[in-house]
């Protein structure tokens, strides 16, 4: 009797285990079909999307031709949409954005941004940023406060891709409390936004409450955006905003400020650079010399000649390169210097004359 009961119990558990294994295998097969099946489905979605792009408009109910029942099918549809969205803009992108929204994928990704699983949030931020949907901006802006650094930097990239001017203030404020490696992607986004980002960046540069890290990254952004054509209106006010950073206690901030001024400032900002020429940090003097070559007027020539004798080679070399941008008058001044100077200053003066194609009588 006991043997009978025990054997029944064992058989029950064996069958239950078998059923569980079959269930897991079937579930997995449904959720993760073979690659050929996935590829075939993606190709079907791709054909339907390309047809919509060719006609220039999505059908009123895209789910008729783009239906999905399983999660993997939704993933394939999303990939097909986003791969195309990466290539397109304007009315073509609007077709895809419409399909992304009407198929329920937009809503699903917004929901994923609130998921407890970090990978769901990262993938959702990426998808929304690539979707082309301006409705995604406010959701991504909220994700800039996510606990996870990667979610924040993916959201920042997405906002850049969406040209989300309204999120610039949020992006700048991120520099305060994210890791340096995430600052790089936020900075890339702001640089990509270009002229639109300049006023907010200048405000942050001139804000006495800005942290050292914020100042450094904001100035690096301004330096990268620059104003080579002199067409950025806000750049005309760059000097007063950047000036406080020129005397900041952090060396990297002062160096970035000098460099930003050189890329964005006006001739009237040259006096600010004069202060940096006497900075105790060589990197600041080097950046100031290079900046003077870009924005200063001829009044900077004697300042640069002074730097020819700088004990740091990089500084004196930067000064000699900058001097060449001031034309024949500056080269004349270097020639005079060559007649009296010694050491590094003499060598730099000779290099200037050589670069200007003048013969030197030794």
């Amino acid at each position: 009797m006991n043997y009978f009961i025990v054997s029944r119990v064992v058989a029950f558990f064996a069958l239950a285990n078998l059923a569980l294994v079959v269930y897991i295998v079937l579930r997995r097969a449904l959720q993760h079909p073979s690659d050929p099946k996935k590829n075939a489905r993606r190709a079907e979605y791709g054909d339907a999307l390309d047809e919509m792009l060719a006609s220039g408009e999505p059908p009123s109910d895209p789910t008729e031709v783009l239906s999905f029942h399983q999660r993997w099918e939704a993933d394939e549809l999303q990939s097909a949409i986003l791969d195309r969205a990466d290539l397109l803009r304007g009315s073509s992108l609007e077709v895809l954005t419409g399909v992304f929204a009407r198929s329920g994928l937009f809503e699903a990704r917004v929901k994923d941004l609130g998921s407890r699983r970090v990978w769901d949030r990262r993938l959702a931020a990426d998808a929304l940023g690539r979707s082309g949907s301006q409705d995604a901006v406010r959701h991504l802006a909220l994700s800039l406060r996510d606990d996870d650094d990667d979610v924040r930097s993916i959201a920042a990239k997405g906002l850049g891709k969406l040209r989300a001017v309204s999120a610039i203030g949020y992006l700048v404020s991120l520099f305060r409390d994210i890791a340096d490696r995430s600052c790089v992607s936020v900075a890339d986004t702001l640089i990509g936004l270009g002229e639109d980002a300049v006023p907010a960046l200048l405000d942050a540069a001139g804000d006495p409450g800005s942290s050292e890290r914020t100042l450094y990254w904001v100035l690096r952004c301004l330096e990268s955006i620059g104003d080579p054509a002199g067409t950025i209106r806000a750049a005309h006010e760059a000097g007063p905003h950047i000036a406080p950073a020129m005397t900041h206690e952090s060396e990297r901030v002062r160096a970035a400020a000098a460099s930003a001024l050189g890329r964005l400032g006006a001739v009237s900002d040259a006096q600010l650079l004069r202060v940096a020429f006497g900075d105790p940090a060589p990197e600041v003097r080097r950046q100031a010399a290079a900046a003077a070559g870009r924005v200063a007027g001829v009044e900077a020539v004697p300042w640069l000649l002074e730097l020819f004798g700088d004990p740091d080679f990089d500084v004196s070399y930067s000064a000699s390169r900058a001097l060449l941008s001031f034309g024949d008058g500056a080269v004349d001044a270097a020639q005079s210097l060559a007649g009296t100077a010694q050491g590094a200053a003499y060598e730099r003066a000779l290099e200037v004359l050589d670069a200007a194609g003048r013969t030197v009588a030794l």
């Binding site: 792009l53 006609s55 220039g56 290539l87 397109l88 803009r89 009315s91 073509s92």
Partner: protein, 140 residues
């Protein structure tokens, strides 16, 4: 069925972009051939002997030591060398556009692109070409 508009050669390395462009223009009446390489494009143009109305190409780092496809086409004597060329490129600074046009391209569309913009640019280029041809006929 759309009216026949002409023959187009799409030279695009990105398979998806190639496919999207080809489908759009095939639907609007173009006879579209596609290829992914400049070399094959030149072979196809040679075989067509001037029968291709327009080449749409991306500007990629170049298999021809720095020369663009547009420039290579212009170097071919006869009707093949006169084929209209529209370049689609992610390099869209004014200097990039100027260098593409200087290389012999007739039109430029920046990437990412709107298919409607590409269509308009192709129409513009063909219209300019057509007006220039009419002018030449008128003068002779």
């Amino acid at each position: 069925m759309a009216e026949f508009r002409g023959r187009m050669l799409v030279v695009e390395e990105d398979a998806l972009a190639r496919r999207i462009v080809a489908k759009r223009f095939a639907r609007s009446g173009w006879s579209v051939q596609v290829t992914s390489t400049d070399e094959e494009a030149l072979e196809l143009l040679d075989a067509a002997a001037g029968d291709v109305d327009i080449v749409v190409t991306d500007r990629l780092p170049l298999t021809f030591s720095g020369f663009d496809l547009a420039k290579r086409i212009r170097e071919i004597p006869g009707p093949v060398g006169a084929t209209a060329v529209v370049v689609v490129s992610g390099l869209d600074r004014p200097s990039d556009i100027a260098s593409v046009l200087a290389a012999g391209a007739d039109g430029f569309v920046s990437r990412p692109f709107d298919l409607a913009d590409l269509e308009s640019e192709i129409e513009r280029v063909l219209k300019v070409r057509s007006a220039a041809d009419d002018g030449q006929v008128g003068r002779t």
